[in-house]
């Protein structure tokens, strides 16, 4: 009887495993997305650092520089807020707690910005004050350091979760194969190979 049969499944077991599998895949997906978005945030932080250095060395006009920097502020804050929300949904509490201080800082910074009609933080009339310029530069470097560390943290998180996924999948699949061999020892090698490929 060389026909393929669906291996017996344990009642209720797959659901839990599926849910766990899904939870792990969703976390992995979050980390992957966070990884990509953090790359964008690193890019923003580097742009800020270069922009303030250009201002300091009189390479650019403060009005033009502020017009380039101001549109980038809200997108950066919203991206960071977005993946905080994602981690909340994925129930990744440790990562969320690590990101909360930065979120609070962003909220405070935006609320205490000078009176402006367009979104942004930087006012060309005050940005050339040496203390404000120094503060913005320090902020840029600190954010770059934080985003770099987060990048590597998410990278570890992603590989951690995705290897776990892979291991889990492998375990499940080895379990299936051994079951199949247990029940169908008489299947020829070809059939087992097809079975292997089909459910692999």
């Amino acid at each position: 009887r060389s026909r393929l049969q669906h291996p017996p499944t344990e009642p209720g077991g797959t659901d839990k495993k599926n849910r766990r599998k899904m939870a792990f895949t969703f976390a992995a997906f979050c980390y992957m997305l966070a990884l990509l978005l953090t790359a964008a945030l690193i890019f923003f932080a580097i742009w800020h650092i270069i922009a303030f250095d250009e201002l300091k060395t009189d390479y650019k006009n403060p009005i033009d520089q502020c017009n380039t920097l101001n549109p980038l502020v809200l997108p950066e804050y919203l991206i960071h807020f977005f993946f905080c929300v994602m981690f909340l949904c994925a129930a990744e509490w440790l990562t969320l707690f690590l990101n909360l201080p930065l979120l609070a800082y962003h909220v405070w910074r935006y609320v205490s910005r000078p009176v402006m009609s367009c979104p942004g933080l930087y006012d060309p009339t005050t940005i050339m004050n040496a203390d404000i310029l120094a503060y913005c530069q320090k902020e840029g470097w600190c954010k770059l350091a934080f985003y770099l560390l987060s990048f590597f943290y998410y990278l570890y998180g992603y590989t951690h979760f995705s290897t776990f996924c892979v291991i889990l999948k492998n375990v499940q699949y080895l379990a299936n194969i051994s079951l199949a061999f247990k029940f169908f020892p008489f299947l020829s090698l070809n059939n087992k190979l097809v079975y292997f490929i089909f459910f692999g």
């Binding site: 300091k56 009005i63 000078p114 006012d123 050339m128 040496a130």
Partner: protein, 757 residues
């Protein structure tokens, strides 16, 4: 090196609690830096360039120990009686830092000079070796550039980004019902008609006019028209210019048309019933008109702009005027005016604002249009042609000065200091375009600036440091000129020397600027605490480090003995006071003036001068132009110095009060005021009658001399004891106690208590 021996006097220990007569009889002079005789002779005048510490500390830690601010106060475009002007084919500058050659460089031999700011050795160009003044060769150090700390160069074409612009003047006038009620329009038109030939400029000078209420009106003054033609644009949301040219016309060619317009303008709007004001749109239109060439825009506004872009709300709560806590709404409500000012600055347009209003006008938002475009703000509260003749007179005189004073266009200013010092904050009306370059679309002789410095590297091995302010501008005749001021100061490394060189007036001026910034960014109470702490910290630092013997009392060096008095005066100044009813616009204007006025006039605002004038005599009088000008003694600002039997003059900068005591001698009343007795002194007198008596001549000579020293016109109010203006007079009595503020003695006790904590 032989030093000036002013150190012992400056460091004489004064116990402030015991010495009651701190004010010198004459105005306080600026301290002389501790330099050699020949260096000090060449040094820049303190009226132009002044430093808070005339002996610079060697390290930042020494500066921090002294707890005094380090900064410069400058008045670079001041009207000078003697200004050497040099026309040279080469302007000698350092190759690396681009400093102009100045009296404090060192010549290594006849062919090489060492820059005093960056210490680079440069070559002397061949043309520089010849001295045209003395017709001699081989003595570059005798040339006028190296003999004068203040000098003006005629700049060659490398200093021009575009051909020098002509003088362009645009007047933007509010003609709503409120404006016509105040009657300013006829005064303005008359003043411009009188001074039309004295406007600075040459044959290329252009003028234009825009009037606005709920619509914007332009005037076609094309040469050849029989009369001026008015063009009305009512689309204020998207304003446009109705004709491409002939709105700004050449003054010489269209002079009759301009004069016709000025004569007919007041009558044109006599019956207007428009109550709305579209200031934002008028400013946008004016900017469009001026942006091709640059120039000066003079805006006259009499009410809160309530229509179109830039409309403002009334933010002042009259019940909060006398609040003892914080004052709100000191910062702008919208950034429309700031953005417009930055656009104007980019096109070399400066906006001057004249605010003639009785109600709240949100000067905090409107003033931004002048602050960032290097304009000036003039404020005439409650201006009315019938009810307030003192303001009318002040407006007339100020307009005359405004229209005829010297002006510079498309200017930039750079302030350089010796390597090791750096500038970190700027105060004044301009836009900071890069770390040390200030963009000034217009520069006028009445503007003062201040900067704060820090010591980045230790000034070891340096005996002197130098500062140079270079102002590059286009004169009204279309010539590109550079005015250079250089100052040099000694470096010291002991704390007592730092204290000996402290300039208390400059410190007060800089402290006022810093406090204004702090009030706007943080809060008013923060700024007040910071000012009190400045006095406490500096005196405490003096006590701990510079005093050898510990004596009781509040001790201060003689050079800083007036510091607590000036700090108390600042706390009671209109800008910073709490607990006394102050209108928000008055407060904001006082803050602007503290940052804008040159030091001498800012100090008169802060600490007015009080003189007794009923017993003027010729003792110590000055003789100027065959007129004998008496010099009465400066009195302390306390009611105990007032006397019922006398008459006292208080000089507070933009206003003067002549207070008549109840039992004043009738001879003074009859000979100076022309009235038989005290009861006959009129209620609102603001002019001294020109009587032929010696007393009258002396009094008028003295007041006239005081007025001539300043570019704006102070209005004079003659008040009796029951006058309505008496509270204003009494508010300036700084040393006395009021319901909301300490007396001077109590303040000293408070400072002493904080020091000994």
């Amino acid at each position: 090196m032989s030093l000036q021996s002013n150190t012992p006097e400056a460091l004489r220990v004064v116990n402030l609690l015991q010495e009651r007569n701190l004010l010198p009889p004459n105005p306080v002079p600026a301290p002389t830096p501790c330099l050699t005789q020949d260096l000090q002779k060449l040094n820049c005048s303190p009226e132009v360039f002044r430093c808070t510490l005339t002996s610079i500390p060697q390290t930042q830690s020494l500066l921090n120990k002294a707890k005094l601010p380090l900064g410069l106060l400058l008045h670079p475009f001041k009207d000078l009686s003697q200004l050497p002007v040099v026309t040279s084919s080469t302007i000698v500058r350092c190759r690396s830092c681009r400093t102009y050659i100045n009296p404090f460089v060192s010549f290594l031999d006849q062919r090489r000079w060492k820059c005093n700011l960056c210490y680079r050795v440069n070559d002397v160009p061949e043309e520089f070796m010849y001295n045209p003044v003395s017709r001699s060769y081989g003595e570059p150090h005798k040339r006028p550039e190296v003999q004068n700390a203040t000098i003006e160069f005629i700049a060659p074409s490398e200093y021009m980004l575009r051909p020098p612009q002509p003088a362009v003047y645009l007047f933007v006038l509010d003609v709503s019902h409120n404006a016509v009620e105040t009657g300013y329009l006829s005064v303005f038109c008359q003043s411009l008609l009188d001074n039309i030939n004295a406007l600075p400029g040459d044959s290329r000078t252009k003028v234009g006019f825009i009037t606005f209420d709920s619509t914007v009106h332009f005037y076609n003054l094309q040469e050849g028209l029989s009369q001026p033609q008015m063009l009305i644009v009512s689309d204020i949301e998207d304003i446009f210019l109705p004709t491409p040219d002939s709105l700004l016309v050449n003054l010489n060619e269209s002079k009759e048309l301009v004069q016709d317009l000025l004569k007919s303008l007041p009558n044109l709007f006599e019956k207007t019933m428009e109550t709305q004001s579209a200031l934002g749109s008028a400013l946008q239109a004016a900017f469009k008109l001026l942006s091709p060439s640059g120039g000066r825009m003079s805006v006259f506004q009499t009410q809160l702009p309530n229509l179109g872009v830039g409309a403002l709300q009334s933010r002042e709560d009259p019940n909060q005027r006398a609040s003892a806590k914080d004052v709100q709404h000191l910062s702008p409500a919208t950034d429309f005016y700031k953005k417009l000012a930055l656009d104007c600055s980019g096109q070399q347009v400066a906006v001057d604002l004249f605010l003639l209003s009785a109600q709240y006008c949100d000067l905090a938002s409107l003033g931004c249009i002048s602050r960032y475009s290097a304009g000036s703000v003039y404020y005439y509260p409650s201006y009315h042609h019938q009810h307030n003749p003192a303001q009318v007179e002040r407006f007339q005189k100020d307009l005359k000065r405004y229209l005829t004073r010297k002006i510079g266009f498309e200017a930039v200013m750079r302030i350089r200091c010796t390597k090791g010092l750096s500038i970190h904050t700027f105060h004044g009306n301009f836009f900071v375009r890069s770390t040390d370059l200030l963009s000034l679309p217009n520069v006028n002789p009445d503007a003062g600036f201040a900067v704060q410095m820090s010591i980045e590297e230790n000034l070891d091995d340096m005996q002197i440091v130098s500062f140079q302010a270079a102002l590059l501008y286009t004169s009204s005749k279309g010539e590109r000129r550079i005015r250079v001021h250089t100052m040099c100061l000694p470096v010291v490394n002991s704390l007592s020397d730092v204290f000996a060189g402290a300039d208390v007036q400059a410190i007060t001026g800089l402290l006022a600027c810093m406090a204004v910034d702090r009030s706007v960014t943080a809060s008013l109470s923060d700024a007040r605490d910071a000012m009190t702490n400045a006095a406490i910290d500096s005196l405490s630092s003096y006590r701990q480090s510079a005093l050898t013997i510990q004596q009781p009392g509040l001790l201060a060096p003689a050079c800083l003995r007036l510091f607590p008095l000036y700090v108390l005066a600042l706390l009671k100044q209109k800008a910073f006071r709490t607990g006394t009813s102050t209108r928000l616009d008055d407060r904001v204007f006082a803050m602007y003036q503290l940052k804008y006025q040159p030091l001498a006039f800012a100090l008169l605002m802060i600490h007015p001068a009080l003189y007794r004038v009923d017993d003027l005599n010729d003792e110590g009088a000055l003789n100027i132009n065959d007129q004998t000008i008496p010099q009465p003694r400066v009195l302390q600002l306390s009611v105990e110095k007032l006397s019922r039997e006398g008459a006292f003059l208080m000089d507070a900068g933009i206003v003067m009060y002549l207070w008549i005591g109840r039992s004043c001698h009738p001879s003074f009343l009859s000979q100076v005021l022309g009235v038989p007795n005290y009861a006959a002194v009129p209620e609102k007198l603001h002019l001294l009658p020109e009587l032929d008596t010696a007393e009258s001549q002396r009094t008028r000579a003295f007041i006239g001399w005081l007025r001539d020293q300043r570019p704006f016109f102070p209005s004079l109010h003659i008040i009796r004891d029951e006058s309505q203006l008496k509270p204003h007079f009494m508010q300036n009595m700084i040393e006395d106690r009021t319901e909301s503020a300490l007396s001077y003695y109590e303040f000293l006790l408070h400072v002493q208590q904080q020091i000994s904590k």
